[in-house]
Assembly symmetry: C2
Homo-oligomer: 244 residues x 2
């Protein structure tokens, strides 16, 4: 936890004084071993970040005097459309998009997605939020990626994808593609990542007939979690990579 995330619905005693008593209080006490008077890095969920001085701390509560003045770090230049992965991978995938500061993650159905995956309890909004927060706490971000579920492939591609792209190029990852994602022009884009085994040819053809262009991530078949991180890492190379 490199940033203590405060929520607008926390117990605010004034505009700048907040009292917390949950896992964040435990973290401050037991991991950071902070004491009264110490300064912590904090952020307001959906808002700015800054410092907090511990006004008081006991076995249950931590009371913070908060000063927020800094903007959150910039967003990643890619939005992601990802075939719903095995539930086992979901938590890590939410954490990853949050770590990289992705604005939108669209989870879609596709031929190689098992129907049962859509029933996973890990897709409940509170479980998604919990995993996103873990990534944001890591990378010191206060802005959560917006996660949307699209359980029908064709309507998503035909009716929604164009609007989502809104003029940005759309790249679809496909092992045999003639062009590397690493070599496409810089700038904002939407990148589609398939399931284990990849998109089927019909899906690639449909998406490419409407909006997308095929790109590869090198010559190797990668797991979904590795492929997603690979896409986001390559998307860093053409933004301003100066440390913020």
């Amino acid at each position: 936890m490199n940033l203590i995330l405060l929520h607008p619905q926390d117990h605010w005693l004034s505009g700048s004084i907040v009292e917390i008593a949950d896992h964040r209080a435990v973290h401050i006490r037991e991991v950071l071993r902070a004491k009264s008077g110490d300064t912590l890095r904090v952020g307001l969920l959906g808002g700015k970040q800054g410092q907090a001085v511990i006004k008081s701390i006991d076995q249950r509560h931590v009371c913070l005097n908060v000063e927020l003045g800094q903007a959150p770090p910039p967003r990643h230049r890619f939005d992601v459309v990802l075939s719903l992965p095995r539930p086992k991978m979901l938590r890590r995938i939410f954490r990853t998009v949050a770590e990289f500061g992705v604005s939108h993650l669209h989870l879609i159905n596709s031929a190689r997605v098992e129907k049962s995956y859509w029933q996973s309890p890990l897709l409940a909004p509170e479980r998604i939020e919990e995993a996103l927060l873990a990534g944001m706490e890591r990378s010191r971000d206060t802005i959560a990626p917006v996660v949307q579920l699209h359980p029908r492939f064709r309507p998503f591609i035909e009716d929604e994808l164009g609007e989502i792209c809104a003029g940005r190029p759309c790249w679809i990852t496909d092992l045999g593609a003639p062009q590397a994602l690493a070599d496409v022009p810089a700038g904002d884009a939407v990148v589609m990542v398939g399931p284990e085994g990849g998109f089927v040819p019909f899906e690639i053809d449909l998406v490419c007939s409407i909006i997308a262009r095929r790109v590869h991530l090198g010559g190797r078949t990668l797991s979904v979690d590795t492929a997603l991180t690979c896409v986001l890492a390559q998307g860093l190379t053409s933004v301003s990579t100066a440390p913020v």
Copy 2:
């Protein structure tokens, strides 16, 4: 499993006929649902890859007629020096370096590595191999990364790192570095990735006084597993990325 990996110590009935009866046989029967006469993609651990025709298959054994003619995919251009991560991450990290075809992974001690991590049963050679094989089966590789453990930081840096680099540049990831890994010259290199919380300043200074140059991976703090994949993904951008 995109490649059935055969071992030289498997039960070879001749130079090209092999009988298997373990989890690979189960996979062929139950996941691939293959039957006699079907062709599978196979590789010989440490050697070439190719096709195998199923000669016979029953509830226990699968007998394969193997023809190996293709070279394994090219290696990644980076060797990796990684601070020993939390045991929970180890399996995924071994899988990742194998997926990307890294030649050498050096796990080292550093100030923020907990001593207890070195006792993890996941560092036993057979557990490491098992995790590497999972990555190689994914990315269709027959060559395993060589994993070496270096439980003492200073002797490793002072006595071994120079020889390991063997004239290649050495990059050490550090959040505030002036240069992005994505912007360094192409070519083979050794890349060092720190633990949760990063290398401490003393470590960075020591390594840089001897051989390394600092690079960053963007402006965000990343988890160790994300940072490692990020390094390897950025290392793809300047090799031949043509599909093989």
